[in-house]
């Protein structure tokens, strides 16, 4: 009972990371209390400039043991003000996972006790927003070499949203076909979802003969 991380210890751990991150130039960090269901959770919400992002990522990895990149999300905001037309959101976790110790040639499983974790071993979650000004070729620095888990996330973000990652090795289409036209990224907002007519489903399943304006069919 009560064998989960308590909100209080999570809050102080999150606050420590937020304070340290705020000291970096171009970075603003705060701890936001969110709820899901009945549980409160404390999230470190960071806003970083594209120039400071790479330094922030290295700092979090080496100084604060943030060891897991959950997700990279790209968002296209064509109607926002010019400084924030593109946004990349990183969700990071500090898991505290270490290779279990070996004693007498046997592995001793590492059983963290959630109620006893303190300080830098408390699992925390971070949400980092990087805003990119208006451009036709948005890009931020890649963190593929810091968290390998970001590798395919970055590939996907480029594939679907069109935000490129400087320094990313082996960028390619992952979810869309390899022969997708250059510059086509479906999650950009100029592409609208559109209903097929009943016959179209069979005559033109791929949509290659699509009419330029589909009045009344765009949702």
């Amino acid at each position: 009972m009560g064998n989960t991380v308590s909100p209080d210890s999570q809050k102080s751990a999150a606050q420590a990371v937020a304070d340290a991150a705020s000291a970096i130039e171009g970075v603003e960090a705060e701890v936001v209390e969110r709820s899901s269901g009945t549980n409160p959770r404390n999230v470190v919400v960071v806003s970083a400039s594209p120039e400071s992002w790479r330094f922030l990522a290295e700092n979090l990895y080496s100084e604060h043991a943030v060891d897991h990149c959950s997700m990279v999300t790209g968002i296209h905001w064509p109607d926002a003000e010019a400084e924030r037309r593109w946004e990349v959101v990183y969700h990071l976790l500090r898991t505290g996972v270490r290779d279990p110790p070996i004693e007498n040639g046997l592995v001793r499983p590492m059983m963290a006790n959630p109620t006893k974790l303190r300080g830098a071993s408390v699992p925390i979650e971070l949400e980092i927003h990087v805003h990119i000004p208006d451009t036709t070729t948005p890009s931020v620095d890649s963190v593929q070499d810091i968290w390998v888990g970001a590798d395919w996330n970055e590939k996907e973000t480029w594939d679907l949203v069109g935000i490129d990652f400087d320094g990313h090795q082996g960028m390619r289409r992952v979810l869309q076909p390899h022969e997708t036209p250059q510059g086509f990224h479906p999650l950009q907002k100029q592409h609208h979802l559109r209903y097929h007519g009943f016959e179209e489903m069979y005559d033109d399943a791929q949509g290659f003969m699509r009419k330029p304006a589909d009045v009344g069919k765009i949702k």
């Binding site: 009972m1 009560g2 064998n3 989960t4 991380v5 969110r34 709820s35 899901s36 269901g37 009945t38 549980n39 959770r41 999230v43 060891d67 897991h68 990149c69 959950s70 997700m71 999300t73 968002i75 109607d79 959101v89 969700h91 976790l93 898991t95 505290g96 996972v97 270490r98 290779d99 279990p100 070996i102 040639g105 046997l106 592995v107 001793r108 499983p109 590492m110 059983m111 963290a112 959630p114 699992p123 979650e125 949400e127 968290w147 390998v148 888990g149 970001a150 590798d151 395919w152 996330n153 679907l160 289409r173 992952v174 979810l175 869309q176 076909p177 479906p186 999650l187 592409h191 979802l193």
Partner: protein, 378 residues
């Protein structure tokens, strides 16, 4: 010997779905791999942008056909974060029952599919027999066999039906006895042991850095679990601990990943039984769907600039939703929905794990990571 690329898939028993694994071989030895995904990319994220918050659960159900409930619940928690809804405690218990039953069903599906992968055909039939019991229980909750559409923003669709708790207890008791049968089938099968032990080693620290979580990580001897690290639902009220496997010093092999999933089914069954006992209002009393204990009132519109996110322990690892809501004139619909699929991240890692092993080990290694292509391709 000359090296050459061969293509396994898209139609191949190893893939458990539709994708291609390009393998560079030197004789029988794998020297390089390259996964190629996207064969069933449906654009769920784009579709969600033109649906109301309440309509999206059905799409999330269909992300993974083996584990529908965990996906719709992962979405609902993120949507509740966005819409700032307080969920009644009874509904949280019912959700826990639904999710943990689904976890058992998903692991049984995996176990059943993993047997034929490495030459043990009969286990498939045995596992599907018990999966049927779990699906019957889930059908009582959601009304459908695979895609339940069970959770709602602010609660669940309906209460546990009359007699559900009694039937669930009886079936889980039977199930806990029958787990021993699978263990006997696998652990006493020389073919299984020879093919699963000592192949596909993976170390915990490396796995976390590569984004691999869930049972695959716990097989390596660490107890990291989103359910205690970032608690949601009522896991803090129940007595449980995630199962951990004592791996070899080289890391977790395919056998450890099999063991940890079998143990996880036991833990899930125990969680369901505890939740039925502790449920506020009693598991045997039926409440009407309009009852505030089942479904809280929830707003349908999100103010502009709000976001919601939630990390969730899926059957295959950490799943996650991030929703940017609101926007000009579109308060009922999300502006952007982003989905983290555990398998999308794990498949490239599993492909790296194969390097150095023989071509015949590929199905054993790939299968042990529990790939599901529905969620991978979205």
């Amino acid at each position: 010997m000359a090296e050459m690329w061969i293509s396994m898939g898209p139609q191949h028993p190893m893939t458990h779905g539709l994708w291609t694994l390009k393998v560079k071989v030197d004789g029988e030895t794998v020297v390089d791999t390259e996964p190629d995904l996207g064969y069933i990319h449906r654009g769920v994220e784009k579709i969600c942008e033109s649906r109301d918050f309440t309509q999206i659960t059905t799409y999330c159900d269909r992300l993974c056909y083996a584990s529908a409930n965990t996906w719709s619940h992962a979405y609902i928690y993120a949507a509740e974060d966005l819409l700032e809804v307080e969920v009644p405690e009874r509904a949280e218990y019912i959700r826990l029952v639904a999710v943990e039953l689904q976890r058992i069903a998903s692991h049984l599906m995996w176990l059943g599919a993993y047997g034929p992968d490495i030459g043990n055909l009969s286990v498939m039939v045995w596992c599907l027999r018990e999966r049927e019991m779990m699906m019957d229980l889930l059908q009582e909750l959601g009304g459908s066999r695979m895609h339940y559409n069970f959770p709602r923003v602010g609660g669940v669709k309906r209460d546990l039906p009359h007699g559900f708790a009694q039937r669930a207890r009886a079936k889980l008791k039977l199930f806990l006895n029958r787990i021993q049968e699978y263990e006997a089938l696998f652990d006493e099968s020389t073919v299984f042991l020879v093919r699963s032990q000592g192949v596909g080693y993976a170390k915990p620290e490396e796995m976390v850095n590569h984004g691999v979580t869930g049972p695959n990580l716990r097989a390596g001897g660490v107890n990291y679990d989103i359910r205690w690290a970032h608690p949601y639902s009522v896991y803090s009220e129940l007595d449980w601990a995630p199962p951990v496997e004592r791996s070899s010093i080289k890391g977790a092999d395919c056998y450890d990943r099999y063991r940890v999933r079998v143990e996880e089914m036991r833990v899930s069954a125990s969680l369901v039984l505890q939740a039925l006992d502790k449920m506020p209002g009693g598991a045997d009393t039926y409440h009407e769907p309009e009852d505030p204990m089942i479904l809280a009132k929830a707003p349908t519109r999100a103010p502009e600039g709000t976001t919601g996110a939630h990390h969730f322990e899926d059957s295959r690892g950490e799943s996650m939703f991030y929703i940017a809501g609101g926007g000009e004139g579109r308060g009922k619909q999300p502006y952007r929905v982003s989905i983290r699929s555990p398998m999308f991240i794990t498949i490239p890692y599993a492909a790296k794990c194969m390097i150095g092993y023989k071509v015949a080990d590929i199905p054993a290694i790939m299968g042990s990571f529990d790939p599901c292509i529905g969620e991978t391709d979205r």
